[in-house]
Amino acid sequence: MSATAAAVEAVWRIEAGRLVGALARRTGDFAAAEDLAQDALEVALRQWPRDGIPDHPASWLMATAQHLAVDRYRREQNLGSKLTVLAADQLARGPAQADPMSDLADELDTSVRDDLLRLVFTACHPALSTDSQVALILRTLGGLQTRDIARAFLTSETTMGQRISRAKRTLAEADAPFALPSTTELPDRLTAVLGVIYLIFNEGYSAAAGEDWTRPALCQEALRLGRVLVGLLPEHAEAHGLVALMELQASRLLARTGPGGEPVLLADQDRRRWDHLLIARGLAALHRAEDLGGGPLTVQAAIAACHARAGSVEDTDWPRVVALYTVLAHLRPSPVVLLNRAVAIGMAEGPARGLAEVEHLRAEPALAGYPQLPAVRATFLQQLGDHQQARHEFERAAATTGNGAERRLYLRQAREAGQPSSSRPGGWRLDAVSGTPVVDSEDAAPLTPLPRP
């Protein structure tokens, strides 16, 4: 990509949400708005490298999208089309208006917040599959190009393009209005939006498939969407809770990869390398979330905060972590939450108690194929001196995971399982965690196991 094209895309990333939102409001048609906006981007990519980036790129893009709408309207002469609204509007202004930019700029500002919210809710419409919701929110609110979304999710641009087209068709067929949800729908719709953003974060944080341990760009993208969302919904506790959770987890990104790209688990991380700016932001967001009443994401953020505040694994308030997981298990019952709770119990009360908790979960169908289950068992068994069984369980974890770096970690642990465990001071607690990826990803663990693409 040329330097100018990169500059055009940078403008696009900043303006895409507002542009698509304004176009969709005026056409009432999300898919048409998205097409028009993309076409306007194409024009910008042709013209700006030649003529320079305009002083007011947002207005330029809006005006261009409107001209395109008029062209399309004239070409199609389809009076039934929703594009007619936009086209008629533009025609009424007349092509030779002295300064169309100022009007348009005003209009862009008036209802930006509502436009963006409608955009978010439409992109996460319940008629769409989760994969489609992820793609649409990254493309519209995030302003990402199809090729970037495809790369982030390790799929081809063609496949991702088809997914996006299909999603737009689905919205049209479901006759999904470009509107805010009703008051009764709002809580569920909002939960879905937060879930989609957190899924994007997790996809980056615990890179379910492929060779990378983390894909930081996806984490940052999700964090950005979350920060935009709390600006749009400042009174909503769980939006703050989600941002708190992501800021706190992202604070560990730099410390959780070793010099060879291998995973570094929570106990082994150099906590001085944590990002204390993000921790401070996360703790502040957590306070706001708790003041506003909290919710399941806020509880998860509170768990992450227990780690963020602790100087070491030993200093961590494990009984509080256990209590928070107990609350979470009531709010959002899930075997994954119970597995994480079992790890915390092992840390708070010793490996025998932890193992006993894990035994209850072995029959859980939802945890079949979940590599952390055997990994946690292996760790407790190792601490209890059952090296044979521990090696077997680490091998099982390695065979189950879809992530290359995680597999190499489990295989190393399997090899080491028979050896004298600790040359380090600090006893079983440190070893407990070093063998347990779940402790690092525990607060990252989604409420249901991640889909493994």
Binding site: I14, L223, V228, G231, T257, G261
Partner: protein, 127 residues
């Protein structure tokens, strides 16, 4: 990815910065925060208010400003964005406000990348 932007004044008009510029800067900051891009920004006092610590030839020393040999830094901003070009775009918007509202002012901004997890990933051979 995170960028630290350091703004330097090259030419400052005799007239003080107009209030409209201050208002516009606050508005742009709000936009950038709402876009999830701006983490922090503040203005800086002239270097006369600061000091410089130096290690040369094994000797530590500290001397008070002003630092006459360099341009005065007047503000910093910390952005978290998807590309260098985005950080440059926000910075350009900031400079454009000066152009539009404070004629005669000239300056330059260094857009510096903060080391982040993505640099770590890039430094490591994949696979």
């Amino acid at each position: 990815m995170r960028y630290l932007v350091l703004l330097k004044a090259l030419t400052t008009p005799d007239a003080p910065p107009p209030p409209e510029l201050m208002a516009a800067i606050l508005g742009l900051g709000e936009d950038a925060r709402n876009a999830g891009a701006l983490l922090d920004t503040q203005g800086l006092l002239p270097s006369a208010a600061g000091s410089r610590a130096t290690l040369t030839g094994g000797q530590l020393s500290a001397s008070d400003g002003p630092f006459t040999e360099s341009k005065e830094l007047i503000s910093y901003a910390l952005y978290e964005v998807g590309s260098k070009e985005e950080a440059v775009e926000w910075t350009s918007r900031f400079l454009r406000l000066h152009h539009e509202l404070w004629p005669g002012w000239e300056g330059e901004a260094d857009v510096l990348k903060v080391f982040g997890p993505e640099d770590f990933a890039a430094a490591v051979p994949q696979g």
